[in-house]
Symmetry: C2
Subunit: 233 residues, 2 copies
DNA sequence: TTTCTTATTGTAAAATATACATAATTCAAT
DNA sequence: ATTGAATTATGTATATTTTACAATAAGAAA
């Protein structure tokens, strides 16, 4: 191989962090500000970072999440890399990259991860001054995101849909520690875009040895309270 | 972010090319020779390449396959990226990299693809002097491969097992254009590591509108010849 | 006490998956 | 021509899984 065409891009990781608020699937996005001739331009991006010199990809993704939320032991799974040479062509993105890295950055290949978190865990926006918010997955298509982050989110969504089909245990990464069967069903139906029958769903759950009933019911609801369950491996 | 730790590795693509010879799953590996103090050391590696300056990842993977085999329109699917900083630590691998690229290469992040090809298509080892051969997937664990290519192959195998479960149409990428139901069954059973019942399997195939019987039977077998089928989308 | 809202529970029918064995076809050997 | 060896082709009964469907129970609010 001749080496004149060899070029080394930067490599980054980006995390598509999913949460479930009891109704909708949400994605965690970071607020971004770009100073553009006297105007401030604000938009959103995925949490991510260029990988460090001796850092494994998985480690980089964990670090990004930990720096942003303070959380450890989050379910994280690499799902796809994005390396289109045009993905860093937008002038705002270039501007922002130079501001934040202090480097001349040409091309970035990014390795994308999905993360599943319990949305009720208080996120401590610790190490950084970064502001992050949850956004409804259905809003994303109407939002203007940095780079190709909208594409990455949709690919990530596809990925967890497959993944949750194969490993239903992962649903419990998204639910609070104590949950009702309705919550589990709503989540299941949201993810798989179906409407399952209440009784049949109940039956299926009854056959899952890892979903165990607690001696407790939900509180503060203006109607009959549902029994609480927990997940046990 | 401070930039002192930012570092840009090279990015490559590697292809795990699967074929099926009627009995076993095979992987296409490239022969590699390294001159080591008066001795020639020979081993095998995955077909791959560092990505070119303005080349998309998918494009690079297609190029690698085309340069090696002369084939176009092969099923190709990205499945995982490998970026452990230690993956390029072996001295033979470093030697080989410097020889072939004429560059000082530190770290390489590789984006891995699986490809499915009909093993009966004559591979034209065209553009290169590279020699490639098919190896039984079960032999891999006893072979010494370059870099972390053995790991990559096993991850690729896992990937196509999932993929073929979700998209049974992909089986026909591996079979010859005309095939018997036995061949399809053997392939199915090999991939999914089961032994399916002949009659039940036949029934299932009969329900696939995309598997159509031809007016032709296989030739040159020393027993009753089986009917041939073709795949039609 | 009535009303409202959601939780909880079973049964019958349909669809799907599984288990299982014999006859037919072809080639090769005698 | 007959036989043997190898492999293809085929149906039915049973078990399992999935689906469709509605009435009662519980708790809070009015």
């Amino acid at each position: 191989m001749s080496n004149e065409n060899i070029y080394n891009p930067h490599v980054s990781v980006d995390c598509v962090v999913f949460g479930f608020d009891g109704e909708k699937l949400k994605v965690l996005l970071v607020e971004r500000s770009i100073a553009e001739q006297n105007e401030m331009y604000n938009d959103k991006k995925l949490p991510g970072s260029i990988i460090l010199q001796d850092e494994d990809l998985d480690t980089a993704a964990s670090r990004v999440l930990n720096e942003l939320t303070g959380l450890k032991n989050i379910y994280l799974s690499q799902f796809k890399s994005f390396g289109n040479p045009n993905r860093t062509n937008d002038s705002r993105d270039i501007l922002w990259l130079e501001k934040t890295t202090q480097l001349k950055i040409g091309r970035i290949v990014t390795v994308a991860y999905v993360a599943l978190v319990k949305i009720d865990r208080k996120l401590v926006f610790s190490a950084t001054d970064t502001l992050a918010n949850w956004y409804d997955i259905n809003e994303i298509k109407n939002m203007n995101l940095a780079f190709d982050h909208a594409d990455i989110i949709f690919e990530g969504l596809k990925h967890i849909r497959h993944r949750l089909e194969l490993e239903p245990h992962l649903f419990f990464e998204l639910l609070p520690r104590k949950f009702t069967i309705s919550q589990l069903r709503t989540l299941h139906d949201t993810v798989h875009q179906v409407q399952s029958d209440v009784r049949n769903f109940q039956k299926k759950v009854a056959q899952m040895p890892y979903v165990v009933a607690l001696d407790e019911v939900e509180a503060g609801v203006p109607h009959r309270a549902a029994r609480l369950y927990k997940y046990k491996k």
